[in-house]
């Protein structure tokens, strides 16, 4: 039920005094309430749940997280390689 889907804000307008917008979900467009994301601008991504934008999707954080995933394990591989390379030396702490 708490499913939230990222969509891109195409247009922002007012309806009955409420901040609304047209949001694109890979080709499907819907009218979405933007009252809770006053900082969101046209072109931003937002996470939408039951017709409401609940948060701005921080694209910078998204890219950082993906970059972190790319590195996961690589550091360890290098450390292990070092350990194996240095036969006879004291084990590395940690």
């Amino acid at each position: 039920m708490c499913l939230g889907i990222p969509g891109k804000v195409l247009e922002i307008f007012e309806a009955n005094g409420t901040r609304m917008g047209r949001v694109d979900f890979s080709g499907i467009q819907k009218e979405i309430c933007l009252a809770y994301v006053p900082e969101v601008e046209v072109g931003d991504y937002t996470i939408v749940h039951v017709g409401f934008a609940i948060t701005r999707l921080d694209e910078e954080s998204a890219l950082e997280t993906l970059a972190l995933f790319q590195q996961v394990g690589l550091l360890d591989d290098e450390l292990n390689a070092d350990q194996h390379g240095a036969i006879g030396s004291a084990p590395v702490a940690g």
């Binding site: 039920m1 939230g4 009955n16 005094g17 994301v37 409401f52 609940i54 995933f69």
Partner: protein, 371 residues
């Protein structure tokens, strides 16, 4: 879809799994709180790909599953009244009450409608001034701002024919109740990402301080879930217990302030019954006195309907992680998604339905090797 597909990359998933396998040295039991995460875990087979020391318990975070039976019976009673248009999210329609479900009321001619957003129900009320429009307002903190806005707008518009049957539940009191239970086995939590988008995660800091359990705010895509598990396991292995945010693209510590403000204006905290679990103190939201006119329980005087749960269904133990769905004697036999006995078999986010839909018929005992 952008910002979904990137978080489903099998190559990166493999890397996260390897890293988890490298980190783990002994058994740990984690609970994913949210039903959306349960669905993602079972669908992607994450529980089976993890090192066997890590056990995932599927938590109570499916609002459809925990909505109490008597609330369903109240919904059925209201939906059957002449002149009522009863609106709900689609997944509530097949939840069994004590005798039938909303679909049965609909097939007898009741005007039961599925809406995408609670604002659609407000719109229906404006378009049908001679009908009573009732919205079934269930959900966790994620859904509450939407439901609060619907009630707020109805009041602003002076609508006399709109009301809401409110059954809102809250995550932090449920986590606290689980931790306080003498039967608790959970050593770390994956907190529900979108609940935290709304509420932030500062509420978990005192829980972590008191109970010394890691709580990692976690998203829903396979990589998000793996990252949540990776961080929780890293904390446990290092003897740490902290609140960590593994879903930074959608969650900030303070949460969504405008949404919180609207919720606080419209709802107040109160005790709430959870289907299969029982009463958890101060674990739900109900309409404030100022919005009493919009309370469907009040308007249709169904406040005195009380119902008992079926003794056959073990969903309460499933929701608390004491039983895996396929360990329930009725699983896949008397109880299937076509003919559910309990709510955890109805919703695709319910643990029983997730196990059924992805073919998990074998219990852990049956696959364990003979000694």
């Amino acid at each position: 879809m952008k910002y979904l597909d990137e978080f489903r990359d099998p190559e990166l998933a493999r890397r996260l799994l390897d890293e988890i396998a490298r980190t783990v040295t002994r058994p740990w039991t984690l609970m994913e709180v949210c039903g959306g995460q349960t669905h993602s875990i079972i669908r992607n087979g994450i529980d089976q790909l993890l090192p066997e020391q890590i056990e995932l318990i599927h938590g109570p975070g499916c609002p459809v599953c925990v909505t109490p039976l008597e609330m369903i019976d109240k919904a059925l009673a209201i939906a059957a009244k002449p002149g009522v248009i009863f609106c709900s999210f689609g997944d509530m329609l097949r939840v069994p009450g004590s005798r039938e479900d909303l679909f049965a009321v609909k097939s007898r001619g009741g005007d039961v409608r599925i809406v995408y957003s609670p604002l659609d129900a407000v719109k229906l009320a404006r378009e049908n001034p001679d009908r009573q429009v009732v919205f079934f307002g269930v959900g966790f903190e994620t859904t509450a701002p939407a439901n609060a806005m619907a009630v707020f707008q109805a009041k602003q518009l002076g609508l006399k024919n709109f009301s809401m049957l409110v059954s809102h539940v809250l995550v932090p009191p449920a986590i606290t109740a689980l931790l306080a239970s003498p039967r608790n086995r959970v050593q770390g939590f994956l907190a529900a990402g979108h609940v935290c988008s709304v509420m932030g995660f500062w509420e978990y800091e005192p829980i972590v301080a008191e109970h010394k359990v890691p709580i990692v705010v976690t998203g829903f895509e396979p990589l998000d879930v793996l990252e949540g598990i990776r961080r929780a396991v890293a904390q446990l292995e290092a003897g740490r217990a902290e609140v960590e945010n593994a879903y930074a693209r959608a969650v900030q510590r303070e949460g969504n302030k405008p949404a919180q403000k609207m919720v606080a204006d419209v709802f107040e905290t109160g005790d709430r019954l959870w289907r299969g679990i029982g009463l958890i103190p101060m674990s739900g939201w109900r309409l404030r006195e100022a919005y009493r006119d919009y309370d469907a329980e009040h308007r249709f005087s169904v406040g005195d309907i009380h119902t008992e749960e079926s003794p056959l269904c073990h969903s309460g133990e499933v929701l608390q992680g004491l039983l895996k769905p396929n360990q329930c004697p009725a699983f896949g036999k008397e109880c299937t998604p076509q003919k559910p006995l309990g709510a955890t078999m109805v919703s695709s986010e319910g643990a029983c339905a997730a196990y059924y839909n992805y073919g998990r018929f074998i219990t852990p005992d049956e696959i364990s090797l003979p000694v």
